[in-house]
């Protein structure tokens, strides 16, 4: 192990972490507003990957340009899921019931994907997937650079939307006090549908980059969801900034551990950090109180 190897691990962790932040941001936003845990988020990332794959293979549309189609499509799918499954959950035990409901959604999506695409492994290909930017002795793959830039742009846009628009105010009000927001005239159903739609739309972008950097099949979402849940817990449930910081932190810790020590200990080290953080900050790095103070 040398210094450049360590530096490369940090760079890889930051770049990959940005992509995971994109996937986790939707999950944390949905929890913050709706107080539900969307177990289907991982499978929806894979659905996003399949949409990009389909546009590229069958219509020749570049995966990044294809986001202009897949993001609205995933938004509409999210709105439909909220209307069809989430809105109907009883207010009492809503969080617990949401786990079952969204798990059912995940199984349905996985089944449909298997029916349409089979369980074969696929990957998204484009000129920037195999090429790198050679700078200061490092080869930085364009797909990771573009993916990180996309994550920064989309997370920034999401932040502006939540903190600088009227709908965003409604969303934040719902995050702070769902009942109170309803009392002051905010249409909670509309806010919930928009939030779930945004959370799903984020998976289109995350899924595209994930699909270009990994092989995937309909089952791949289950590998993702456990990692995404851990990221949002570390970042603080409901915090978009927390998701970004936690995702980058998680991937840097894992990559550096793999280089310094062994890949076997990567996850262990990350969970050790998670436990330590939760011991001192039970709400995560940017938990609910911190969010409300923003």
């Amino acid at each position: 192990m040398n210094g450049s190897e360590l530096a490369k691990a940090v760079i890889d962790g930051v770049l990959t972490g940005g992509v995971y932040a994109l996937m986790a941001a939707g999950l944390t936003l949905i929890f913050g507003v709706m107080e539900i845990i969307n177990i289907a988020q991982g499978v929806m990332v894979i659905l996003g990957a399949y949409l990009s794959y389909t546009l590229q293979v069958h219509a020749g549309i570049d995966p990044f340009l294809g986001l202009f189609i897949t993001i609205p499509v995933m938004f509409l799918i999210g709105v439909a899921i909220e209307w069809g499954f989430i809105r109907r959950l009883a207010t009492r035990d809503r969080t617990a019931l949401s786990i079952l409901a969204t798990f059912a959604v995940a199984i349905v999506i996985e089944g449909l994907l298997t029916q349409f695409y089979s369980a074969d492994l696929r990957t998204i290909d484009a000129w920037y997937v195999d090429r790198s930017w050679h700078v200061l002795g490092f080869y930085l793959p364009y797909i990771y650079l573009f993916g990180f830039a996309l994550a920064v742009v989309l997370l920034g846009a999401l932040y502006l939307f939540v903190y600088r628009t009227r709908t965003g105010y409604s969303i934040r009000a719902s995050m702070q006090n769902r009942t109170g927001a309803e009392l002051i005239g905010i249409d909670i159903n509309r806010v919930s549908a928009i939030t779930f739609g945004i959370g799903s739309a984020a998976t289109a972008a995350g899924g595209m980059v994930y699909g270009a950097t990994n092989t995937f099949n309909p089952d791949s979402g289950y590998d993702l969801i456990s990692r995404l849940l851990v990221i949002v817990v570390l970042g603080g449930l409901g915090s978009i900034g927390g998701a970004l910081v936690a995702a980058v932190l998680a991937l840097v810790i894992e990559d550096v551990t793999a280089v310094l020590w062994s890949p076997v200990w990567s996850s262990t080290m990350f969970f050790a950090v998670l436990v330590l953080v939760l011991l001192f900050r039970p709400t995560g790095l940017f938990g609910q109180r911190a969010v409300r103070a923003q």
């Binding site: 990959t16 590998d223 894992e254």
Partner: protein
């Protein structure tokens, strides 16, 4: 309670116990199916999950065999029907599946799942019911060290898969022999032993190990491992992989312009069109993989199987995964053994499998006391111009192309 009533109760209890005992005797001799109608064969396959690429190829192989055997009149004059259930690549589920197939569905025969780890997880359950467990993808050493006498792997014992490759490198003149090697493997009983044996041969020949890592099979971020191999600047790379991880490694090597002189993977490059689609056709040249079967293998029945595959699934012969042949061979061996016995008695079937020699599309099969196929032979395959070309070692350990191929092995591997 009156004496009469007590006597009735006692008799009922004794009768029940006797019936349970009889049932137990039935199940311990194996073969819970009926004696008429189709022969039911229970199979658990990884139709989803980490092993799904291989599991689906296995399904194709089993179904092609069933179609072929039914077209030729079946086994013992009875048609065969496959009862395939999904284990989602889970060691827990695969054990449950076989338990249900045998004890609830009462299948007549069972065929093995995909992978060493799932064979290991289910073999104990199958042994408990006295069934013969013929399988095609459980070739890791751990399957054969459990003291079971009813497991039969029709394919190559995998521990020696990379020996031909390692001996080829070791036999090179010192001036052209690679000086360093990098090893990375999943923590899996199929992959890890292969690298361990190859590393021993190479180190003995003076090929220095500059990177050696084992990673958990649930790893999804292969970046640090690839970076480690790249930073070590190894001359040759040996990876213990399946399709997802070998794809990730090749992508990372391409992105970082790392060109080892030789690169071999335990599995993944043998996945035909799926491998090409995932890494890109222009990145396959020179990649190597060990295996037992190739589409033009002159083994009896192979040409017919390849033709049947192409008729059903289309594509080219190069698209056919070696898994298809492994599964097909399971059916062939079982059918020959059952036919030799003349019945479906599992005890007789196990005995026949231990003593017989069988013909398969992969070549001949005969089993030692642990169930390993002692007739199997490992070819080394290399991707050359979009085709997977088989090579076998000659007396000098040099890898020679297997006829009808004539092109020599590509070494060093060309740049990406």
């Amino acid at each position: 309670m009156s004496t009469r009533r007590a006597l009735t109760c006692s008799l009922s209890t004794l009768t029940t116990l006797a019936l349970i005992g009889l049932c137990g005797a039935c199940s311990s001799s194996g073969g819970g199916g009926s004696t008429t109608g189709p022969i039911k064969i229970g199979i658990s396959l990884s139709l989803t999950g980490d092993f799904s690429a291989d599991g689906l190829a296995f399904q194709q192989g089993y179904e092609l065999w069933a179609k072929a055997v039914n077209a030729s009149g079946g086994i013992l004059g009875r048609q065969v029907s496959l009862d395939i259930v999904n284990d989602a690549s889970s060691p827990v589920q695969v054990a449950t599946n076989y338990q249900k197939l045998i004890s609830v569905d009462h299948v007549d025969l069972v065929f093995g799942p995909f992978s060493t780890s799932l064979t290991e997880a289910s073999s104990q359950v199958v042994a408990r019911y006295g069934y013969a467990f013929v399988e095609g993808a459980g070739g890791g050493p751990s399957v054969f060290t459990r003291g079971l006498h009813d497991v039969f792997d029709v394919s190559l014992p995998v521990a020696n898969n990379l020996v031909s490759f390692a001996k080829w490198i070791a036999a090179m003149p010192a001036s052209s022999r690679p000086a360093t090697a990098a090893y990375a493997t999943e923590d899996d009983p199929f992959t890890a032993p292969q690298l361990q044996i190859a590393r021993g041969i190479l180190e003995k020949a003076g090929v220095r190990t500059v990177y050696n890592q084992t990673y958990p099979s649930e790893t999804t971020d292969y970046g640090p491992i690839a970076t480690g191999m790249i930073s070590a600047k190894a001359d040759i790379v040996l990876v213990g992989t399946l399709l997802p991880d070998v794809t990730a490694f090749i992508k990372q090597f391409v992105q970082q312009n790392y060109n080892p002189e030789a690169q071999i993977a335990t599995a993944g490059p043998d996945q035909g069109s799926q491998f090409i689609q995932n890494v890109g056709a222009n990145h396959t040249q020179g990649i190597m993989v060990p295996n037992e079967w190739y589409p033009t293998d002159p083994a009896p029945g192979n040409a017919a199987m390849v033709a049947a595959y192409l008729a059903k699934y289309g594509g080219t012969a190069q698209d056919i995964s070696a898994d298809v042949a492994e599964a097909y061979s399971v059916g062939e061996v079982t059918a020959q053994a059952v036919t030799a016995d003349g019945n479906l008695n599992q005890t007789q079937l196990v005995a026949e499998l231990h003593k017989g020699t069988f013909q398969t599309v992969q070549g001949p099969a005969a089993f030692d006391s642990t169930g390993q196929n002692v007739k199997a032979f490992a070819y080394i395959f290399q991707w050359q111009n979009g085709a997977l070309v088989p090579f076998s070692p000659n007396a000098a350990q040099t890898l020679e192309p297997v006829a009808p191929a004539t092109a020599p092995i590509i070494f060093p591997k060309p740049a990406w």
